[in-house]
Symmetry: C2
Subunit: 402 residues, 2 copies
Amino acid sequence: MAATLKSRVASANAAGCEFPIQNLPYGVFSVDGGARRCGVAIGDMILDLAACEGSGLIDARGTFSRPQLNDFIALGREVWTATRARLTELLSEAATEPLPLVPMAEATLHLPIRVTEFTDFYASKNHAFNVGVLFRGPENALPAQWTHMPIGYNGRASSVVVTGTPIRRPMGQVRGESGPEWTACRRLDLELELGAIVGADSTMGQRVSVEQAEQMIFGYVLLNDWSARDIQAWEYQPLGPFQAKALGTTIGAWIVTTDALEPFRSQGAPRDNDILPYLHETRPGFYDLTVGWTMNGQQMARTNYNVMYWSSAQQLAHHTESGCPMRVGDLLGTGTISGPAPDQTGALLEMTQGGKTPVTVNGQARTFIEDGDEIGLYAHADGPGYRIGFGPCAGRVVPAAE
Amino acid sequence: MAATLKSRVASANAAGCEFPIQNLPYGVFSVDGGARRCGVAIGDMILDLAACEGSGLIDARGTFSRPQLNDFIALGREVWTATRARLTELLSEAATEPLPLVPMAEATLHLPIRVTEFTDFYASKNHAFNVGVLFRGPENALPAQWTHMPIGYNGRASSVVVTGTPIRRPMGQVRGESGPEWTACRRLDLELELGAIVGADSTMGQRVSVEQAEQMIFGYVLLNDWSARDIQAWEYQPLGPFQAKALGTTIGAWIVTTDALEPFRSQGAPRDNDILPYLHETRPGFYDLTVGWTMNGQQMARTNYNVMYWSSAQQLAHHTESGCPMRVGDLLGTGTISGPAPDQTGALLEMTQGGKTPVTVNGQARTFIEDGDEIGLYAHADGPGYRIGFGPCAGRVVPAAE
């Protein structure tokens, strides 16, 4: 898509705007308590796709009036491509058809998909090593299989919420001096991630190749996998994190499509060793995408998605290794995105060395997240004259219900 | 319910019948490729609940014509109780209304619920210890927190299948002599479990007490959590089992309700230590239920559900510890049910000491499951003059797709 392409929506052409005509991310919104419907972000407006479909401007077989994007996504990649082409046409500078545009400021944003199942991976080597040192010491930091397969675990889909939803500090069991203790979490953390949205079903008993997996991914959202580190440390052996990760997972409201990200395709981190053929990629599987996070508005860390070791396509292919069927609406967290330096880390656990080295936020010391703190994630890819942004992915922590 | 109560369906009154009028388990069936609908097992027949509702014999707000029981279950415990009373009336010896009964032999049984999310626990101390020895040695066999909380992990809902579905041996990465190896699983195992069906939603950020949790459970199914032990050993640290448990989970077709199990309420295993108040039970949380499994028709092991340490109500309460919302149709595996002796173990891993001590099945040696082997689970509670059975939970292993 030409970088010089402009939209008839003037705000979409402003420098630094996250939603230019080159982006066209999908979401679900409502106005004044009305029905939820699908939309596309353009500048500071939302194009009401249900209304577009109702007036014949676009055809997605009625799926745009549904309260989530799953049914549209299930139509498949050919429809995704055709719809994007039509939206580009309708929103371009030259177009003149009357369009149902809603100011984003007047809309309520909802979860863009009904999350079918949620899987979270662990694909930044810096993060895996840093956290491994804190949980198990430097000798056992990186598990032996880590450079041979994308390590992941099944998370909880029911606790995935949209940006802006308050996050309640969890209660839980932690290790006390003489046995377990029941307490409000004392080591509440964030995890800066992206989430890949699976856009096609696969069949039980049949594996999906990395190439097929890439074609199955509809797009990406920002994702904060809130984590209770003290609960995690006590519960996580031998079956992995459970309640420490079930207090809430915040995702952004806008799904940035793989089509919009295509110009930013990038290699990931260099490999330490050969990998098995089922994980081979025939082209670079990452994107050159700046990602970062803020606490109470203060910039905390920034890195690039292309520091990661395992791509979402590799993760999805591995997910089907055993014959596990994937379904439209499955959400695959990339894992925490961390660069090597403290100001490139996607979690406070790493940034503060497990709480030993406080950081200063607006003049106050922090090791972990305190009640009232707001964490915001961001991501953007910068092309010539335009920026592909993901919109906010924010949540404020409210006190525990003791 | 009186043990002497008889049904007008003669086969339901036969000695040893799993589906007497005291049971009334719910399932989903179809006939000759027709639409799926809800039914209740009675003797060797299925009462067609959709037809009952259509002719005004029973009222479940139209939910019995749905292809799964989730919508009926969501109506709540009062409706469950009223419906059970009405079914007992309709099926009793004295009743005379014409009933839409379908021979079970002519019906195809389907998944009784749309599985919303699947969580698997680890609640037999014998199993946890035995497996812990094999994976980590006797020193670290039982994790420190094991007697303080129900340990569980999120499993994969998309690979839950109904009894009779073939199970494909998975391919996967295993530890080789010099790095990972790509192979068909060589250590395929079963896990003998029950699965509790969550029958009510809970609210994000709000914990559920053990008493509330007990009221939220609709009933139980048999559950075989097929496990690839070699894949598991290589992948499971630090985030828990993933592809080793995603090849398939077989559940029985019939949900035995908590109302049917109520007369068999039982204490579980004695506690090693005090537990935190949020896990306290005010009454026994288990059932006196014989459970066992067969391989190729040969009896392999038998034990009782009441050997378990953590009840499903405790597991469900713990699941909401962090504020995690539960939903109708969530399936909670109890964990493998194993007694202390080898012929009481719910997995071959334990029975054969990790493959070191083969067992004989119909004259052939087995350490793990071979292609063509069929595993069958069973469970029943025996009352005075009647038996509450769960029906079959079987699966035959087919060769890997290499």
